[in-house]
């Protein structure tokens, strides 16, 4: 939110003003202030442990849990008061305006959820043994209203402040986030239910499994990043052997992802093809350097050595369990639609889908970068070449998808290889 338009300012002002009006209207009679304080603390704890979801500052926290518990225990106005804890969240990041907006947004969501709870016949107060299962229906209504209002307000602000042409405006519609929020919201009813037995100690007990889950999710994300960085570093190490192909795996991986996203592959498969792209040429390591860098045509023996590289690559990555579909892609990325490729000579649909995608991306990057035997070609020329060989060497559907994606998002061809840069040898060490 660097520079806000007038409409965006109006919108944010309206949300904050509505929250202030709700807060000013009351009524404050009969509120249990110590309960509100404890739940407010719970909310501050949740807000302080928010996870950042994207670069534009969208963060997610388990606040819903605390404000929905307050809806049951303290009613709409109490829930608004608890939600004001958002203002006090101990985390870096949000500016004053963002904090105020978030607080107003949560206050409004909590208030409307509280109204929904009462409208569906829920009784405000500490539930006892007779409250179940009658409480579940009104609570579910409150949870849905809370999540829906929250996301509508949030989506509004992202829509009004979106960068022109940016894809980030879609972020508010991520349905997984809605469900996660509903799931954590369900903890609210647990807190409310236990209040009569455990009193203010309830939030502490409920928070422990929640925090452990959050810790595990954070660990998972960290490991995932580490994993990607490590695979990419090792792939780059493999490429040092042939300096003409530096960055090749990274670019093939990017190209394969562009094709896969363009044809609407599921996200898990897109992830797998990304790794397949990175690893597709690992087997080149088994080919002698002198052959890889040879200027001029290869002898039959040398060509046979080159043809072996997909199988060698497979040998290496076979043991990585999760890569099932990627393995087929790595092994067959040099097959041709007309059946004249290697190593198996598969044709048409016999070639695994991943291999056909990789084949297009691989050939395109090879054409647009320098090689020991020729210079790089310009992108339009490479596209023409892809189209020319579609149906013979490449799958036409994937060529079309790739060309569409390139024309929309562009393509960064590698820097030309400057001058002869010899590899280290034992003698030169």
């Amino acid at each position: 939110m660097d520079k806000l338009s007038r409409i965006a300012w109006l919108y944010i002002g309206a949300v904050i003003a509505a929250a202030v009006i709700v807060l000013a209207k009351g009524p404050y009679a009969g509120l249990n202030w110590s309960q509100i304080a404890v739940l407010g603390l719970l909310l501050v704890a949740c807000e302080s442990s928010a996870t950042l979801l994207n670069a534009r500052g969208l963060a997610w926290s388990a606040n819903t849990m605390a404000s929905l518990a307050a809806v049951v225990l303290c009613g709409p106005v109490g829930a608004v008061l608890v939600s004001c804890g958002t203002l006090l969240g101990i985390r870096r990041g949000p500016s004053v305006v963002q904090r105020l907006f978030n607080t107003g947004m949560y206050a409004l969501s909590a208030y409307l959820a509280g109204r929904a709870f009462i409208a569906f016949g829920g009784h405000v107060g500490t539930p006892g043994q007779s409250s179940f299962p009658g409480l579940i229906g009104p609570f579910a209504a409150a949870a849905v209203v809370h999540v829906a209002v929250n996301f509508m307000l949030l989506h509004g602000v992202f829509w009004l402040t979106k960068d022109p042409g940016g894809a980030s405006a879609r972020v508010g519609l991520d349905s997984k986030l809605w469900l996660t929020d509903l799931g954590y919201g369900a903890f609210g009813v647990l807190i409310a239910a236990l209040w009569s037995v455990l009193g203010p100690f309830t939030p502490v007990l409920v928070l422990i499994p929640v925090f452990v889950a959050r810790w595990a999710v954070a660990q998972f994300a960290a490991q995932q990043r580490a994993y990607e960085a490590t695979v990419s570093a090792l792939c780059q190490a493999v490429e040092t052997k042939d300096f003409y192909t530096r960055g090749h795996s990274e670019r093939v991986s990017r190209g394969a992802v562009m094709i896969a996203s363009e044809i609407g592959m599921r996200p898990e498969r897109v992830g797998a093809i990304r790794y397949a792209g990175m690893l597709h040429d690992v087997g080149k390591l088994g080919v002698p350097t002198s052959v890889l860098q040879k200027r001029g045509s290869l002898t039959d023996d040398e060509y046979a050595a080159v043809q072996l590289h997909p199988m060698r690559g497979l040998d290496i990555v076979r043991e990585i369990g999760f890569l099932d579909e990627a393995l087929a892609g790595i092994m067959h990325h040099h097959e041709r639609i007309d059946g004249r490729g290697y190593p198996m000579g598969l044709a048409g649909d016999e070639i695994p889908e991943f291999a056909r995608v990789l084949g297009v991306a691989d050939a395109f990057d090879a054409m647009t970068s320098d090689r020991s035997y020729r210079g790089a070609r310009p992108i339009p020329e490479a596209i023409a070449e892809l189209r020319k060989w579609a149906g013979k060497q490449f799958d036409p559907a994937f060529v079309d998808a790739f060309v569409t994606a390139i024309q929309r998002d562009g393509w960064t061809a590698p820097e030309p290889v400057p001058a002869e840069e010899p590899l280290r040898t034992i003698e030169s060490l």
Binding site: L205, Q223, G283, T425
Partner: protein
């Protein structure tokens, strides 16, 4: 022993055969089950509905057991359910009075039921782990149930909670001690180190499990048996997250293991070299009492210790870096460290790889290399000399040669540990 060098190989706990130290534990658990079932059969089951509800939760939890990093197992939902059953004081309006024997019997039978589907698809049950879990529950039940059933515990939450909390912590500690004993026995590690690792790694799960057990036990008062299902939900969320975390950890290690083989495919080192060096290095590290986190870094570093050779146009003859001049070794190590550093998350691993060719007592009074580097240096030299051969004479000869160089090159304590591992005691 014919294959002298191979008995440091097991990377994890044996899955089928039980080591000598594990028999007493499993036998004790078996006796406990027989006693508790007989006792319950004689005295009759108290509150069948509660027994079935908690039993179902425990069986479900056992079905969803988790494999954790380091070849560990946990069944958070089952443990939470069993602990809750051991600690529950009232279900709805009625006081809950299951005997300790009944709690143990229900837990044991439910665990067996939950393990059956795993057996059916060919995943063996790990009796020692199950026994350790049962023991923890039995400890809580045997202490808490007699007191509770006699009406000595009760009143308000602030008088009940500390006792329950204390018991859960004691049970967690007991389980960790038992597991650490098993691991000490199976992995040739030190007990103190194993216990520390165990407590560290299980802490988060134990906290979530214990809190959920208390939640279920208290919620049963308000919600009746519905609490058993409802309050298992938070733990299910935790479990899903933990499973994903354990999954990516395993994939990571698998991938590094696989990609470390690029040097073999490229003909830079002998086939199986990095795998052998990493196994030997980890075994030495364990022998020297390194904790698990350090062992993992050591394993990564050992797997990738030759990655620097990729910068060579032509492989070193036979891949044996021990035969190459010091300066060259150092450059290979330096380049390997550069590669690993690009991953940005493995800086300490890169450091281990960088210092692997430094002698253990540097002449220029520089900092001596880290222990992991010294271990890799010795393990690498040993493997270059012995290779995949299993000849005990050759192993002894290689160790003798390394010993000659302990004054400056190789760390004497590392070589001692190595010789204990590869030369069977007379």
């Amino acid at each position: 022993m014919t294959v002298a060098g191979r008995w440091y190989e097991p990377r994890g706990l044996p899955r089928h055969a039980l080591d000598s130290g594990q028999w007493p534990l499993v036998a004790f658990a078996g006796l406990l089950i027989i006693w508790s079932v007989a006792q319950t059969a004689v005295s009759g089951v108290h509150d069948v509905h509660a027994a079935l509800a908690f039993g179902a939760l425990i069986a479900f939890g056992e079905l969803l057991r988790l494999n954790l990093p380091g070849d560990r197992e946990a069944a958070p939902i089952a443990t939470a359910g069993a602990m809750a059953y051991a600690l529950v004081l009232r279900i709805g309006d009625d006081p809950a009075r299951p005997t300790a024997a009944q709690v143990i019997a229900v837990t044991a039978l439910a665990m067996i039921v939950g393990a059956l589907p795993h057996l059916a698809v060919g995943r063996p049950a790990r009796l020692t782990m199950m026994s350790a879990r049962l023991l923890a529950v039995a400890c809580v039940a045997a202490t808490f149930r007699p007191l509770a059933n006699a009406g000595l515990i009760g009143g308000r939450w602030w008088s009940e909670l500390p006792i329950m909390l204390g018991l859960i912590i004691v049970a967690w500690f007991l389980e960790s001690v038992v597991t650490a004993l098993i691991r000490t026995d199976a992995l040739r590690t030190r007990f103190g180190v194993a216990l520390g690792d165990e407590l560290r790694i299980q802490f988060a799960i134990a906290a979530a499990t214990g809190a959920s057990a208390l939640l279920i036990a208290f919620a049963a008062e308000v919600m009746g048996l519905a609490a058993v299902a409802v309050f298992a939900a938070p733990l299910l969320v935790t479990q899903v997250a933990l499973r994903r975390y354990a999954g990516i950890r395993a994939t990571y290690l698998q991938t590094v293991r696989a990609l470390a083989r690029v040097t073999e495919i490229g003909g830079y080192v002998e086939t199986g070299h990095s795998a052998r060096v990493s196994r030997l290095a980890v075994a030495i590290g364990r022998e020297l009492g390194m904790p698990e986190a350090a062992l993992l870094e050591l394993e990564y570093a050992a797997l990738m210790h030759d990655i620097g050779q990729l910068s060579l146009r032509d492989p070193v003859p036979g891949g044996a870096t021990v035969l190459v001049a010091r300066e060259e070794q150092r450059r290979i190590a330096e380049y390997g460290a550069e590669v690993i550093q690009q991953a940005r998350v493995l800086d300490s691993v890169a450091d281990i790889v960088r210092r692997q060719s430094d002698p253990c007592r540097p002449i220029d009074r520089a900092q001596p290399p880290p222990l992991s580097s010294r271990i890799i240096r010795a393990a690498n030299a040993y493997d270059d000399l012995v290779g995949s051969s299993a000849d005990p004479a050759r192993a002894a000869e290689a160790v003798a040669r390394l010993r000659l160089d302990t004054a400056a090159e190789y760390d004497p304590s590392v070589v001692d540990a190595l010789s204990r591992l590869v030369i069977p005691a007379a």
